[in-house]
Symmetry: C2
Subunit: 272 residues, 2 copies
């Protein structure tokens, strides 16, 4: 999860995501609309019996915030809570993905995040393996990790049985920021780029004053970074109808969508 504004726990229930799954929370900065849902999420998870560890990453201040409400709002924390205060760079390494961050340019320190899925091994062709006489078991495993095996004195190469590795996806989440080089580098080649777009182009002065981006600035970021798809989010509450922002962005980057509550998307990695 990237950021956790007020009401996130309710939306998670509405989305039927479950509160006891493996998950991590990456926080971009300490403004209320990005963190005020954390206390309620943690407390409801505790109440409903979460046992899985929850890891939270965020800039300096996130620990003080969470420890403050743990002190002032009594409840029984039912699971392990690991808080990691991070800077720009590699912030998290998992078997299936890495998470990177850069500082953007906002009125307070604010990180943006990229999640890079690692390539998955290629598809294993069971029929071909059988046809070539490789018995199921340790030899299959050996082929799967890219090594050749010997069967009845004959060498079988993995390239005959295992397809080429499937690339992982790159998902990038750009939080409150003016356009800047660091963020553009982070977004490079993103399969899915979620970017803040607080104002429409007619309010470029406000975007500049408050450390935000306009719709066209978000679209130029997507174009310059050669992203595959752009989702606009974090609109000012002033916009009852967000179509003006979508229009402005699409003029610059055609594959743009406007985020809405409970939007679901499948991210497909593109061959690079």
């Amino acid at each position: 999860m990237f950021d956790c504004g007020e009401g996130t726990q309710r939306q998670m229930l509405a989305a039927r995501l479950g509160l006891n799954k493996k998950m991590k929370l990456y926080v971009t900065h300490m403004h209320g609309d990005h963190v005020l849902g954390i206390p309620g999420l943690i407390q409801t998870m505790s109440l409903l019996g979460r046992t899985e560890k929850l890891e939270i990453f965020g800039p300096e201040g996130v620990r003080d915030f969470i420890e403050s409400f743990n002190r002032t709002v009594p409840y029984n924390l039912a699971f392990e809570l690991e808080i990691n205060e991070v800077r720009d760079g590699i912030v998290d390494k998992e078997a299936e993905y890495d998470v990177f961050s850069v500082w953007g340019k906002h009125v307070i320190p604010c990180l943006s995040y990229a999640l890079l899925e690692k390539p998955r091994p290629g598809r294993f062709d069971v029929r071909m393996a059988r046809r070539m006489g490789v018995p199921e078991g340790p030899l299959w495993k050996r082929l799967q990790i890219g090594r050749s095996v010997k069967v009845h004195g004959r060498t079988v190469s993995p390239t005959r049985i295992v397809g080429s590795p499937r690339p992982g996806s790159k998902v990038v989440y750009i939080a409150d920021t003016r356009p800047c080089k660091s963020v553009e580098r982070l977004a490079r080649g993103a399969d899915l780029l979620v970017a803040e777009s607080t104002f429409d182009d007619s309010k470029a002065d406000k975007a500049s004053e408050y450390g935000h981006s306009t719709a066209s600035e978000a679209a130029r970021l997507a174009r310059n970074a050669r992203a595959k798809e752009l989702i606009l989010t974090h609109l000012s509450v002033a916009y009852k109808d967000p179509s003006v922002l979508l229009k402005q962005a699409k003029r610059i980057f055609r594959r743009t969508l406007m985020a809405y509550d409970l939007l679901r998307l499948e991210v497909r990695p593109s061959r690079k």
Copy 2:
């Protein structure tokens, strides 16, 4: 406002209550489902330009909670915020109403509140005032506050022109508690009694263990206190269909309603 759980700011917008009106917040206790909406409410009020002072009342701990997020979640507080840590007794005196509190019996210190509207002056009979030759102005005001006036040497009594005072309403909000005498005294003669009813009668043991009330206990409170109307609220999330609780309560106290999001009620004082 009594208590402020997560998402309250959103519901206030949905109810079109406005964020710059005179209002006060009375907090019953420091559990998350009663306070976690305060930070977002204050911050959104600031963002949308509230200028009116906001007074918050609550038990010890409410100041530390609010000061903690004011320190850890940066924003510009745009209006005066007055935090009053209170105990049982008279907690607030206004021209139009007083607010009283008592301690209930919960797992942490928890207040319940009663708002007593003061009697309003009787209706002023403009036609009668004119017929009796009382000129509009200071003499009308004098009559309105219950004093007689002299017109052309003749005494005019206020009882001829001003009706009898209209009684104020009594609204009582019973937060998380076991049934107890203090709460019953507070609820006496309430025109509207809003009471927690976390569990249905089959879970009386849980109610006892966690310091809550069952539907029948809430109904007995309303009956013993001779309340005019009872609203059940604070149901456990386990109840998808709250009708079982309503049925149990109605067996004991007929004028019972189940609270739901954005329910609106007009409170009419009864002649006592």
